[in-house]
């Protein structure tokens, strides 16, 4: 019998990966390509959707080649993507209307301030579960409609389509201008601010609030469901699942039970807790979002603590400051000193996300003395990831009333041993990494494999989860408290710097 595999495409913020997994959830091949980040103005971050599509065109065949298998050995394809990033394209030509506006882009800051004053604002959070922030798709889409000349007319005539990256890729893979499917899944839709969390349909009130013509929106589908077959790149592969990358990681970590929690450390970091079929509203600055929806079943909700800048701070050390050549060298540099020397970095590059939701905050470095070296800065950069995690874990604990006993982690930054130890230290709970660090892709593969019966059920998937590494807390409690107090003071200073701003949450 020929062996069959499941393919995942992880369309991320900085790169796109195509990964093949075997039946035991073992990685068989990985093909990856980075795409460019465009920064035309301060705070603007754009990507070229065509470049991303071209990357998919190269990595899909490459992953098959590296594994030495043919397309008919692929049982299913799962697609996962950076969330919120908005792209609008012409349905007749397939050409995007300008570059995609990414989730990190904060050009809509003043638009947000305007929207805050609109009637109906009080309803927004209740309906979509999200605070009004630059982060989500609807303000980005509204910005495009308001600023690209003629776009609103074209949208109203049904000539242009909107989507997050899942929609863009599936539309292209299923034929593009020749009958491509214009669909999204509930998890991606739950990041737009346009979907009603309870009904999981586009919400007319929200569409009216943001002034978005419904014709341009994709159809909302469950996360796992046979969507159709690819007709381009590698034809004939069943597309059987799509979900946002953080939700895919939740799935890949097999967080299928209420209360199961994970944190994924990549460009940003995202703590998600499965809350079952109950829509839980946070009192402490977390988001309510959809965790996943299996075809034919009710949606599973999640609480989320989103941190905008973690891995991207490391990239900033590399690309903007030139203090390191590669991201992992941050650990080497940080190990040249024994502590942070009194230095703290609050990387509020895109404002502060959870639990503060302060769009006008800007980053700062405090505690500088002539003693501080680049080693201290590197340490402060890694510590910032840990303290930001502590803030969202505290918020989660406060919402639930019971403290978390452990933290399941994944993502590229989990290769950083110093960082993982520090996270265990500041949370005072063990930090656990499962055997597949590419949990985002694994989750998309699981979802797709489940949809086509390649894997029988959730229980079987859960048995695949194995512990690869475990960091146990070692920090002296008094020292931890003191450092946390310092961190909090540093965060307060970013509020002060953003004095013209106000909290949106």
């Amino acid at each position: 019998m020929v062996q069959r595999f499941v393919m995942a495409i992880d369309q991320g913020t900085t790169s796109t990966r195509c990964i093949l997994f075997d039946h035991n959830a073992r990685l068989v091949s990985v093909a990856q390509r980075e795409h460019r980040q465009h920064h035309p103005r301060p705070g603007w971050v754009e990507q070229d959707a065509v470049e991303i599509w071209r990357n998919v065109d190269r990595i899909m065949p490459q992953a098959l080649r590296d594994a030495g298998i043919s397309a008919d050995q692929v049982a299913a394809l799962g697609i996962t993507n950076q969330r919120e990033t908005a792209v609008v394209w012409d349905r007749h030509t397939g050409v995007p209307v300008g570059r995609a506006i990414t989730w990190e882009d904060i050009r809509t800051e003043s638009l947000i301030a305007e929207l805050e004053a609109r009637p109906g604002i009080d309803q927004v959070r209740d309906r979509c579960g999200l605070p009004l922030a630059t982060y989500f798709s609807a303000p980005k889409l509204k910005w495009l409609l308001d600023n690209v000349s003629g776009l609103r007319d074209r949208a109203e005539r049904g000539d242009v389509l909107f989507g997050t990256m899942d929609s863009w890729l599936i539309w292209n893979l299923t034929g593009g201008v020749h009958g491509g499917l214009h669909v999204t899944d509930v998890t991606n839709a739950s990041r737009t601010m346009l979907m009603n969390l309870s009904t999981q349909k586009w919400d007319p009130e929200l569409l009216a609030f943001f002034d978005i013509p419904q014709q341009m929106l994709p159809e909302i589908r469950p996360s796992t469901e046979i969507r159709g077959r690819t007709v381009r790149v590698v034809p004939g592969i069943e597309i059987a699942a799509a979900l946002g990358d953080q939700q895919a990681a939740l799935f890949g970590q097999t967080c299928f039970a209420k209360g199961d929690t994970k944190c994924t450390y990549g460009t940003g970091s995202f703590l998600l807790m499965n809350t079952g079929n109950t829509l839980v509203r946070s009192q402490h600055g977390l988001l309510t979002t959809i965790g996943y929806q299996l075809g034919g079943e009710p949606a599973t909700y999640a609480l989320e603590g989103s941190i905008a800048v973690t891995g991207s701070l490391v990239q900033w050390f590399r690309d903007n400051l030139g203090l390191i050549h590669t991201a992992p060298e941050i650990e080497t540099l940080a190990r040249t000193v024994k502590d942070n020397g009194g230095c703290y970095i609050v990387p509020a590059f895109s404002g502060l996300f959870a639990p503060h939701w302060l769009p006008r905050a800007r980053g700062l470095v405090v505690g500088l003395t002539s003693y501080i070296t680049k080693g201290h800065l590197a340490r402060a950069a890694l510590e910032a990831t840990a303290w930001q995690t502590r803030e969202v874990v505290d918020a989660m604990n406060a919402d639930l009333g019971v403290p978390a006993q452990r933290l399941r982690v994944d993502g590229g930054m989990t290769a950083d041993h110093l960082l993982m130890q520090f996270i265990a230290d500041v949370l005072d709970v063990p930090v656990m990494r499962p055997l597949v660090a590419e949990t985002v892709s694994l989750g998309a593969a699981y979802a797709a494999g489940l949809a086509v019966g390649y894997w029988p059920d959730l229980e079987g998937l859960r048995r695949n989860w194995h512990l690869a590494a475990r960091w146990t807390p070692q920090m002296d409690p008094a020292h931890r408290d003191e450092e946390y107090a310092n961190w909090k003071r540093a965060v307060e200073l970013t509020f002060a710097w953003a004095k013209s701003g106000r909290k949106t949450n």
Partner: protein, 254 residues
């Protein structure tokens, strides 16, 4: 005797050119100065850039000597980077073999464990990143010693400590074992480090063939070895495949 290799001579000439005067030259200046077609010069420069002997200024596109050239004697690959770049394949090896995985680099006459993946059976294990292991008594160490002439020599001239009754302590015997490692392309060890334990390891290389680390599995001797006490061929090939996957990953980008 084959004659001199032209592209190496040309590369040497480029490095000499960049080492003198302003030290910053564009592609045309370099190709014109050396009388080379631009395409040829560009290919050599790209390769020199890949091995970090040459850097290209992002803004001007001009070439200069790479920082790596000034630190030729020091480490070729950052240990934390090796961990990052190998993490997927180390996980896969642990999943396939059912054994704990370690990646080691040489440090001060011993093996520094730069990465460790637990045996995937969810039993209590302690993360061993940062631990030091002996070169002569572990599969990781034998690989590192076998492919480093200085280390091989040092080991031969040194008193080898006995850790178990199977530890190889006679320099001549170890020398033979290291030669076998070089010809087989992998190393094994049964109860030479710890009674009841065995290990298998293979080299991780950077383009050009230089060994920068070793990757291997370790576990109960009856799991790692067959009844004759030899490492199981299936496990050996899994270790070799994983180390080759990391080698390919290191060659892919950089």
């Amino acid at each position: 005797m084959p004659g001199p290799i032209q592209s190496i001579e040309r590369a040497a000439a480029m490095l000499r050119l960049l080492a003198r005067g302003s030290g910053h030259h564009g592609l045309t200046e370099i190709s014109d100065s050396l009388g080379l077609p631009r395409g040829t010069a560009h290919g050599i420069l790209r390769t020199l850039q890949r091995v970090e002997f040459v850097e290209q200024d992002r803004a001007t596109g001009r070439y200069r000597l790479g920082a790596a050239l000034l630190h030729l004697g020091t480490s070729y690959l950052d240990a934390n980077e090796l961990r990052s770049r190998s993490i997927n394949w180390a996980d896969t090896l642990a999943a396939r073999s059912g054994q704990a995985v370690r990646i080691g680099m040489h440090l001060d006459g011993a093996v520094l464990v730069v990465h460790h993946v637990f045996r995937p059976d969810d039993t209590m294990q302690t993360l061993g990143i940062g631990a030091m292991l002996p070169l002569h008594a572990t599969a990781l160490g034998k690989v590192l010693a076998a492919y480093d002439p200085d280390l091989s020599a040092a080991i031969r001239s040194r008193e080898l400590t006995s850790l178990t009754r199977r530890t190889i302590v006679r320099p001549a015997a170890l020398e033979r074992v290291l030669a076998e490692v070089r010809s087989a392309g992998w190393a094994g060890e049964a109860e030479e480090y710890m009674p009841g334990e065995a290990s298998i390891a293979a080299p991780i290389r950077i383009p050009g063939g230089l060994v920068v680390g070793a990757m291997g599995i370790s576990g109960a001797v009856d799991r790692i070895c067959d009844t004759a006490g030899r490492p199981r061929p299936a496990l050996v090939s899994q270790v070799l495949q994983a180390a080759e996957a990391v080698t390919r990953a290191l060659a892919a980008e950089s």
